[in-house]
């Protein structure tokens, strides 16, 4: 009854609002709201409370192009627009902007039965600019156009050859990189990323964070369906699906590779995983009702939302899972789909076909109808030829055959450089060497502990020369000067790598031959009686990788030539691919090593994880040579979980300390290379972590592969659009 009454009142108000005259509440000083040069008509005149202009919620939301909703049961007002949403409660000062908890100094009020909301807060939350013009008592709102999402093109089939077969379609357990392609395209998460890297609500219609940042409550979109491989409906996606998935992941016997993020973040999850309790209700994952799922964290995690695009927060239909048992995910018939695509055909080592899921809730943003993959063991070798014959849509052009294609003008203008990847590569010094006596580990240990010695390497290492072994055409393209690559994170509109502590590295080049020789002389003087020169430097590499094998020689010659054979004797030692990391890096079986890392979440901390104090991932124990400063800097940075700008500043400081002290030598970002592709790379969901970027949602096909120049132009445009889109979404 109350509900009906409220609806009635709202409707009357709406009709009144639509046809009624504008009646100022206070004759004395009427406030006008001017939106892009036009006066905003409101049925109830704007008022001022606590110095805040308040306007009727429907008028302002609709004028800003937002979809309005009102929940009479909880007396909550919603405004949804693109990636953003605002949640307000009349009479309360709490509000949520795209899920983030906010405290208002003046909450919504009810005047004459109408809900008035703070104008500036609402408009700014949706990314618009608000100015108060004192002189004529008016509020000026200037909107910026939305950056449009990719539009469909007439091309609707993507064809590819592949060599990496799925190991398992059980996305809850598998961590095989190829398998992620399947789950990223067939399973939807609570949130997703668009092609600008803007986070958008997906299965969650909206969410609220608690004031202490420990509780996240997601309200699901209603009517989203699980379907089988034929597209037949199986069930609705509900809150319990997230609980069932968490329970499966946290049951040790299921041997999931994805339990760790869950049990490190979620309250009570570790105890359940360790078997200290069998009562799942003690775990902070709960279905509050059919459409509400709540996660409670051990402690606030500033990047928690970015973790939601990880497999460990994917839902699963518990009934289906139980029915399938160990058969779950063994083929395309034993999984359910709720994402943009369905794996319609799956013939291992032959072919796979994804088709658009016609029941997908956001199918208007799925533009490619069919993804056809044909297996070929030598796919990467065959792909360029198949591409130029028009049989497939994209191919990486290996450096060793690039010339052949570049000499053909019709093919040359279809080849462009690849986009940078998100893995970083750096050179590491081993501070606790565990290798054969012939390479003199004790001698190395003493040498590596010297800052001068390390700095000689740091400034003496010609990274461009080393890169020539990877990309002889554009060796500078992938060089990075920090552990965190550029364009990964921004704080207050500034790229993380350009923050004060890191700017001096990211704007320069570590290679400085004169300086290197100076440090060499200092090191030789300092270590004269302690270390035997030349110091033997065991530098392992993988023999199956031609570029690395070549690079080992280049690095050896370059460093020995510059720093002198009286100083160092670099000894490249080849190891096979099998168990390379297990026999080299993780057992400290090296002196100097090229190594890498990929990000796991949306926070620069992720790139310092491999060099975190205590060496959790077995790279090198920095604390053995550091005086404790690094640990202090690191701990202070990760303890800051509320103020993101401050956190980034502190993380940048810690990272800068690592570079300054030559504990690491940043080298290059992954990716690059050369590509011929009809896929428009700038329609690809953009996220440096998680599997979002493997999804074909939003993606479109070009009628022809872009030339290098066309690609560069599109890239510049995309960078601008991305900045605008992020700004507008407040992300």
């Amino acid at each position: 009854m109350v509900k009906r009454l409220a609806l009635f009142v709202t409707m009357i108000a709406l009709i009144f609002g639509a046809i009624g005259p504008v009646v100022p509440a206070r004759a004395a000083a009427p406030i006008t709201v001017v939106l892009d040069g036009k006066v905003l008509p409101t049925d109830v005149a704007p008022i001022i409370r606590n110095g805040r202009t308040m306007v009727p919620f429907r008028a302002i939301f609709e004028a800003l192009g937002a979809e309005v909703d009102y929940d009479p049961a909880t007396n909550t007002v919603f405004g949804f627009k693109g990636p953003s949403f605002v949640i307000l409660n009349p009479g309360k000062t709490t509000a949520w902007v795209s899920g983030r908890y906010s405290k208002l100094d003046s909450g919504p009020v009810i005047v004459n039965g109408r809900t008035l909301v703070p104008l500036r807060f609402v408009a700014e939350s949706l990314g618009e600019k608000v100015e108060w013009i004192e002189a004529n008592n008016s509020v000026l709102i200037t909107t910026t156009p939305d950056v449009p999402l990719p539009a469909a093109t007439a091309l609707d089939e993507y064809k590819m050859v592949y060599s990496g077969e799925f190991v398992s379609l059980n996305y809850l357990t598998t961590n095989n990189a190829n398998d992620m392609v399947a789950s990223a395209n067939t399973i939807d998460a609570l949130v997703g990323y668009d092609n600008y890297g803007v986070m958008r609500p997906s299965l969650a219609k909206y969410w609220k964070t608690s004031a202490d940042g420990r509780t996240y409550t997601f309200t699901l979109r209603e009517g989203v369906k699980w379907v089988d491989y034929t597209g037949k409906e199986y069930a609705e996606v509900v809150a319990q699906d997230f609980v069932d998935s968490a329970k499966y992941l946290l049951t040790k016997a299921n041997a999931s590779s994805h339990s760790k993020p869950l049990y490190s973040a979620i309250k009570g999850a570790k105890d359940f995983y360790d078997g200290k309790t069998t009562n799942f209700s003690t775990v902070g994952v709960k279905a509050l009702d059919k459409y509400t799922v709540q996660y409670t964290l051990v402690e606030p995690v500033p990047y928690f939302m970015s973790m939601l695009t990880y497999v460990c927060f994917y839902p699963v239909n518990g009934q289906f899972l139980a029915q399938q048992g160990s058969k779950f995910g063994t083929d395309n018939k034993t999984v359910l789909y709720n994402g943009p695509y369905i794996l319609k055909t799956y013939e291992p080592q032959n072919k796979r076909e994804f088709v658009k899921n016609e029941k997908y809730w956001d199918k208007d943003n799925v533009h490619i109808e069919k993804l056809s993959y044909k297996y070929n063991k030598e796919a990467s070798t065959l792909a360029p030829e198949l591409f130029f014959r028009g049989e497939i849509s994209a191919a990486d052009i290996p450096i060793n055959v690039l010339d052949a294609y570049m000499n053909d003008p019709s093919k040359r203008n279809q080849i462009r450089s690849g986009l940078p990847g998100t893995y970083n590569y750096w050179y590491a010094f081993q501070f606790d060497p565990k290798f054969e006596a012939e390479y003199e580990p004790d001698n190395w240990k003493k040498a590596a502990a010297s800052l001068n010695f390390r700095k000689a390497f740091f400034h003496g290492f010609d990274r461009v020369a080393a890169m020539l072994t990877y990309d002889p055409y554009n060796p500078e393209g992938q060089i990075i000067n920090t552990l965190t690559p550029p364009n990964f994170a921004t704080a207050d509109g500034k790229d993380y790598t350009k923050l004060a502590p890191l700017a001096k590295f990211s704007n320069g080049d570590s290679f400085d031959p004169a300086l290197a020789v100076q440090y060499k002389n200092k090191a030789m003087a300092e270590l004269k009686d302690k270390v035997t020169f030349p110091v033997k430097v065991k530098m392992p590499y993988r023999t199956d990788l031609t570029d690395w094998t070549n690079r080992a020689v280049v690095v050896e010659q370059q460093l020995e030539k510059l720093l002198g054979k009286d100083f160092i004797d670099i000894i490249p030692v080849g190891y096979p691919a099998t168990n390379f990391l297990g026999s080299v890096r993780r057992v400290y079986n090296y002196a100097f090593l090229e190594t890498n890392w990929g990000p796991d979440y949306a926070d620069p901390q992720t790139y310092t994880d491999p060099v975190a104090p205590g060496d959790p991932y077995k790279y090198t124990p920095i604390e053995l040579v550091d005086d404790g400063t690094y640990k202090k800097l690191y701990d202070a940075a990760i303890a800051e979980v509320v103020d993101l700008s401050k956190r980034y500043e502190l993380l940048a400081k810690a990272e800068a300390y690592l570079i300054e002290n030559a504990y690491v030598i940043p080298y290059r970002a992954s990716g690059g290379g050369y590509v011929a592709s009809k896929l428009d790379p700038f329609t690809t969901p953009f996220a440096p972590y998680g599997s979002a970027s493997l999804s074909f949602k939003y993606r479109t096909l070009l009628s022809k592969s872009r030339s290098a120049q066309e690609h560069d132009r599109a890239y510049e445009q995309w960078k601008k659009d991305r900045a605008a889109a992020l700004k507008k979404a407040g992300q």
Binding site: S257, K260, P348, K377, L382, E391, T578
Partner: protein, 337 residues
Amino acid sequence: MSVYATPTQPDRPRLGVRRKTDSLLSYTIRKIGQSLVTVFIVITVVFLLMRLLPMEGYIGEGYDKLDPEQREAILRSMGVLDPWYIQLKNFYIDLARGDLGTSITFRRNVPVAEIIGPKIPYSFKFGMGAIALSLTCGLCMGVFQAREKDRLFDRLGTGYIVFINAVPAAVYYLFLQLYITSATGLPILFAPEDPKSWILPTISMSLGGIAGYAMWIRRFMVDELNKDYIKLAKAKGMSSTGIMFKHVLRNAFVPMAQYLPTTLLMTIAGSIYIESLYSIPGMGGLLVDAISRQDNPLVQALVLIYATIGIVGLFLGDILMAIIDPRIKLVKGGGAR
């Protein structure tokens, strides 16, 4: 594993003296007994060797980002943490029940039989096609080369044989795939539903066989043509074609017969290179993949299959030879394998 046992250097057929106590039945029983022991040894050795591989190999690329307890849970679920004798015992118990186990790293939780099952027909069909083609072409070529010895056809044929044996197969396979497809419009990749896509792989697979059979037949025939019985046949006025096919070819074929069953059975092992070039979802390369991924159950099953057909093939070869050549008897005693 090659589809062909190239019969250029066959073992000398074992000749023996018939003994009255010997029968095919007792020979068979003894042979089966020996074969079982051999298979058992082979399987057990392979099983134990696989257990020497590092534990990290089971987990693969994600190793770094897993906690030790997760790694343990994963290894436990694969059953590789049990002591080797427990694993071996379980393996034989399952095997006795006819259960080859489920894959652990190749296709997680999928029964090994389901992985291998659909692949065998592809390899078998291509293998049979290629054998048929290489036997027909190879025998004809060899016979005509012998007849035309030192003339143009023989020289061309010898040139072909030398080429096939001297140039790495990978080179002419690739050449055929890239140039013949662009010249003829034949599809570059195999698709079961497209009959045209069967042509090139079959031809490619038979090239080596053609050369092998032709070389063997030519050599044998050239040797044989100078023998007395040929002279007699000639003197009797037999046509040279008749001599070739009725006498010489039959004799030349006897040593090849020993390997024919193995060659036929081994077609199911597939051709690593041809299958990977043309995307044929057959058995070729499966064993190599399984070993590199440390999928123990899959490796064991494949080794079991290959060892069994290898032994069965040899056994059938012996019998076939005995049937074709009345001089050969399957003797009791140390001579038999």
